[in-house]
Amino acid sequence: MSGALAAAASTTSTGEAVQFWVLGTVAVIGALCTILMRKAVHSALSLAGTMIVLAVFYLANGAYFLGVVQIVVYTGAIMMLFLFVVMLVGVTAADSLKETLKGQRWLAALCGLGFGILLCAGIGNASLKTFDGLGQANSGGNVEGLAALVFTKYVFAFEITGALLITAAVGAMVLTHRERTERARSQREQSEERVRTGKHVPPLPAPGVYARHNAVDIPGLLPDGTTSELSVNATLRGRGQVRDVSGEALAELAALEQRSERWLGRRKPEGTEAEGAEGAAGASEDAEHRKGAAK
């Protein structure tokens, strides 16, 4: 990149300028999206985009090592950690953007505006007309230069960050660890108890089996066409994230039958007896059963 210029230059190359203005806009848009998106996942993705742009800027500024680290560690690891937590907490839960604290937005806008303007004023105030460039510092290689500093001048800080990371890891474990207060029941005990109580002796029904939807959030349909609550994970049920497609499926099935009959020309619409497509056989049988029961 153009970081390796002669000492005391006052402008960068035109290419870098173009890159700055284009990617800078992207970074700002990404940042704005981060704070304005209603869903945390979108925010995270926008932030990841901004971070990648920043990685490019690091590279442009001669920080090759940091640029790579930014992508690998930040965008790769930390943002994934964010997404992981978002998953744990719930992907679908969208935030309302309605402000509940009185005057918070106004204050935030006022402070943000004042802060930004003052910061920019400060930067503009500083006499930074010329810059040295990293040509000399990076002459032996950027990574080598950083290593020389980390292991000499900043060795203590480096060691302390090691301790910090270990502490953070232990802290995270302590925070998320839950003490088990009772002995876990073995599989054998669980099955024995099921048999003893006589409830759900066979395994629980699988989700989405009879509905031609292969997803865990869609309950399986019972032979009579109704949904089986048991087939969906209790967590999803608890969050209300069960997608019930039974009605939809039945309607679709009926439409399919009608279409196939018309296509085959075997039956007039007044006759409701169906022995059509194999795929829908169970369901139609089920419907007939229900009719019979009604008669």
Partner: protein, 99 residues
């Protein structure tokens, strides 16, 4: 173009991040905004490094990343713990520290 523009960009990103911390309620998004602020700082450090022609700024940025990683680990663990007990990730719900 003068590299000082990178500093303006950093200031802008930092302000956006700070505003996000203030206006968002979801703790995870809040954390993302903090990360955004840290990244803005890093950009400034890297730019300073270039302006001054030595690598100390990059070292600081490097340390910032390490600290940010540690902070995210602990912070997210806290969020998970809070969510577990309160079934909410909103920072407004944890408002018991008042008179």
């Amino acid at each position: 173009m003068n590299p000082v523009n990178y500093l303006y960009l950093a200031a802008l990103l930092f302000t956006i991040g700070a505003a996000g911390v203030v206006i968002r309620r979801n703790a995870i998004v809040l954390f993302m905004c903090v990360e955004l602020m840290l990244n803005a700082c890093n950009l400034a450090f890297v730019t300073f490094s270039r302006l001054h022609g030595n690598l100390d700024g990059q070292i600081i940025a490097f340390f910032t990343m390490v600290v940010a990683a540690a902070e995210v680990v602990v912070g997210l663990a806290i969020i998970v713990t809070v969510f577990r007990s309160r079934h909410s990730a909103s920072v407004d719900d944890a408002s018991l520290m008042k008179l």
